[in-house]
Amino acid sequence: MVIVFALVGLAFYLAQLHVSSEARRALQSDFQAELESLHQLEDLHNAALNERCRTLVTNPRIHAALEDNALDLLYPSAKDELRDLMQIDPVGPESKRVLRARFYRFLGSGGEVLSPPNKNEVGNLDPADERAIALKKLPVMQQVGYLPGNNSSRQGTDQILAIPIFSTETGEVISALVIGFKAVELPGDRNERSLTSGIWVGGNLDLPSLPKLAQNVTARKISDAVSRISRIEGNFMLTIDNGPHLLFYKWINQDSLYPAAYEVCIYPLTFYATWERRLRWKIVIGGLLVLVFAFAASDLIARGFARPVKELALVSEQEHRERQRAEAALETTNEELERTARYSADASHQLKSPVTVLRTGLESLLHRDDFKPEVYEELSILLHQTYRLTGVIDDLLLLARMDAGKLELQSVPVNLSAVVNEWLDDLSAMPDGADLKIDNQLSTELQVIGEKHYTSLIVQNLLENARKYNRSAGKIVIKARAQNGFVILSVGNTGRAIPESMQSHLFERFRRGTNSEKVSGHGLGLNLARELAQLHGGDLRLVGSESDWTEFEVRLRAAKDKIRRAAT
């Protein structure tokens, strides 16, 4: 929040600075434009004056008076020529009045003022003024000077032009015509936004729109600035009538033999300062409004954003709880499984030794010859049951190891044909195996990858099942084919088909077929075989069982270099 406030505050401060500097630049360009137009006015004025004066100083009568030793005719000759320039029309428009001369004088060869015969005709000047317009020597170029008003005969500053008069005979300066005009001045209606201009010369400032006291103070400041800041031009801020003002001064008669005069322009900044203050307030108020609005808006938006997040949090909490429950259940199941597996393993070991003891006892009883023959038959059956029990225990032990994930395979190439042949030999030695027709279609070198013992167990299970569930004078067909890097061994046998209801439960533990009453077995064989096949990366499935033909096939990984041969 604090950061947001700080950032927004900073942003508005920068914006205010930017706007402020823009405004200042605009103000300066305004100021420059006004100054420019003033200068243009002055240039026009000077150009008009120059043209007038140029024609005056080439006037043949004036030249004749100066060159033909007729100085007494100088002013009378000039009087006619300057008559229209001197005619002051006090009610005429200002634009016409500015081109009217207030006085004129000729300078002699030493730069001194040549006294006119009648001062009224050439404009009255005090002796002090006449000294001020005299020059130390005659100029070769036009000179511009300014003559401050003297508060008696002349009001306001006069601009004076001293125009050299060259002899048409010698080409040398023989005189100069000095003409005094009222200095260009902007209309004096000083308001809070307009530029006022005046002339500073010799420590006096003539700026009629300023009060006399302010003029004196300002004049001193300009004197100071001229001596300290720049002799050519400069500007500074000052306070007049408690209002800030920008003052600009410029040396307007450089290279003149007359004393330095400065044009002084004063631009009031009161309006600008007020405007800037107002702008600052506007920005502050606007900023606060924006801030409040932004907070309201952001709160709304945040609420909008928060709703789905809250819902999501709720949902995720529920899901989390459910997952925890599921994980707990899984943990329990896992523990149960492990316990079961451990139990199964323990049970197998605990069971094996009593069975061995039992079998040994039964065998020693069979070796006695003092029992009745029925007893021997019973003993023989019991002994057979101990073997069956050992088989069950072995299978259970193996399954338990598999369930616990403790069974480690050492895969090597195994000759499947040899394995099958070994078991077929055993099969034929079985009492009920004699009348079975065995059709072994395997080639001699059928190599698969696996652990020989378990591969053998799988084959044994399949062949024993084929024998056990066969009918008399039935047959067993053993085939093999290669498929995608696997060897598929199929074992088919004649005999009653497995009912369809049974087929889906065939591979579950302790399941036996419905026709299994007279068949030995414990219902772990197919389950064990399938799990072993899967452990080897293969599978075991029932291909089909219908009307005197049941066929299983097991998929085992082929040893690579033997595949081709196995397929043939």
Binding site: P60, R61, G171
Partner: protein, 214 residues
């Protein structure tokens, strides 16, 4: 009628007197300044100024006898016309008492005036065919600079002399003054507004004196 007859009689008398007096002759050459190639005022006008010196271009000189001579009630009429914005002739020697007419032969106004101490006058503006032809009587010796108030480049010179014995040289400076009185005299040669040579000469009747200036 009477005045007319008197005037005619005067003329005849004058001619007689001259024929008697003009026994002596002075001739020679005035060393004229070089023709100025870059005059201050445009070249085509004959009176030029250079360093404040008025002279003609090409240079001419006026050779005259430096003494008061002739009739004090002498009157003659000469002309300095304004043609092509120039005075023609640009240099005119006259005897005191000569009236000079200034006819305007241009199609524009001229305003001939002079502020020279020898003669100040101002004829005002006038056009061609102004009648009577504006004129001035030159009654004081001296150099008179003619100016036009309208055309500030126009310059003309009238040299007002107290003698009737004067002549303008040719552009080589050769001159011949005839009908001079015998005796000891001073002959002057006006070359420009700042240069006048003078030489004493002993004139004998019927003889020709050779004078070269300077």
């Amino acid at each position: 009628m009477f005045f007319q007859r008197a005037s005619v009689t005067g003329w005849i008398l004058l001619i007689l007197v001259r024929s008697i007096q003009s026994a002596s002759v002075a001739e020679g050459q005035v060393d004229l300044p070089k023709s100025r190639s870059a005059p201050v005022v445009a070249k085509r006008y004959e009176i030029v100024t250079n360093g404040g010196i008025l002279s003609t271009n090409p240079p001419l000189a006026i050779v005259y006898l430096d003494e008061k001579s002739g009739n004090s009630s002498f009157t003659a009429v000469k002309q300095v016309a304004q043609k092509n914005l120039a005075f023609v002739p640009s240099l005119l020697p006259v005897q005191v008492g000569t009236r000079v007419e200034f006819p305007n032969l241009d199609d524009t106004y001229h305003n001939i005036f002079s502020y020279s101490p020898a003669k100040r006058f101002d004829l005002g503006r006038y056009r061609r065919d102004e009648k009577p032809v504006p004129s001035q009587l030159f009654d004081k010796p001296g150099l008179v600079t003619l100016r036009c108030d309208i055309h500030d480049h126009m310059r003309g010179l009238i040299l007002v002399l107290e003698t009737s014995h004067f002549v303008v040289t040719d552009d080589q400076g050769h001159f011949r003054l005839t009908g001079l009185p015998s005796g000891h005299h001073v002959i002057k040669a006006w070359v420009d507004s700042k240069t006048t040579y003078e030489k004493p000469v002993e004139l004998r009747e019927g003889a020709t004196a050779q004078i070269n200036f300077p």
